[in-house]
Amino acid sequence: MQHILVTGASRGLGLAIVQHLLAQGHLVIGCARSASDVSHPHYHHFEADVAIEEQVQALFIKIRKAFKYIDVLINNAGVARMNAFALTPFKNMRETMDVNYAGTFMCSQKAISLLRKSANPRIINMSTVAVPMNLQGEAAYAASKSAVESLTRVIAKELSTFNITCNAIGPSPIATDLISGVSEEKISRLVEQQSIQKMAKPEDVLNLVDFFMKPQSNMITGQIIYLGGIS
């Protein structure tokens, strides 16, 4: 049984990851701004906003006290607001950067001491195909995830001393809350640009989570794997 921390755990992909890891018999610590509906003896939920340093600090103090260590940190918490660059309010850009990039930065930093106590410590970040595809209407979102990708590569180098691997998953469009505001036509056009021209499923992401978590994946770090054949 591994100790796995999942941020953004209350819905969408985060919830799917939580349920998947619980089904595998792991102890899962979830965090989200809201409460969780998950009821499982191995699930422990904390309400925290990853964009607020004090809340992240308090979260990791509680985790340390309750669980001593973690094996895996999955930085899944994210926000996406599609809008034309010219029309994107500064406040929305700031919030996107704060949750997607700063949240990943702070959680990864605070997790180092807990991960060091694990035999196979992992950080798994979430990116998006919007980065390599430079998608219109996603200036703030794609830039925040581009920052996450750079962070992933730098962390991979710096934390290899502690045997911590750090990789990222770049999902192609999946029907989750995150893209609920995007038109079907836009999604179809996007999917047509993929090598594999179909919508991804949460299972495709879960497969990569499993892959990065495997002890045999200890030579894989600093990698960004996109779904759908995007490169």
Partner: protein, 97 residues
């Protein structure tokens, strides 16, 4: 936490760090030991490991403090230059200075 208690904690953290270092890389457990920078015993990740150990030991005493500092990698005035400056740095942080 008194200055002497902080000093003892830092020296204990160095002893802990030494447990995972090769014989040739042992860090002298002394207040005069240069830690980081010119003639320092630690590289940047060695310093990170030591600071994480110190933060952990402080947390065991319910003291939550982040030792990160924008001057960390500064050659001129890094608070991590030697054991003595590190103890001063922690003392200032705990006093909220």
């Amino acid at each position: 936490m008194t200055h002497n208690e902080i000093q003892s904690l830092v020296l204990a953290a160095i002893e802990l760090t030494n447990q995972s270092r090769e014989d040739a890389e042992q860090v002298p457990v002394s207040i005069d030991t240069p830690l980081f920078g010119k003639q320092g015993y630690l590289d940047s990740m060695g310093l990170v490991a030591l600071l994480i150990d110190i933060e952990d030991m402080l947390q065991d005493q319910d003291i939550n403090v982040s030792l990160s500092d924008e001057r960390a990698m500064s050659a001129a005035n890094s608070p991590f230059k030697n054991v003595s400056s590190l103890v001063e740095h922690i003392d200032h942080l705990l006093k909220g200075e």
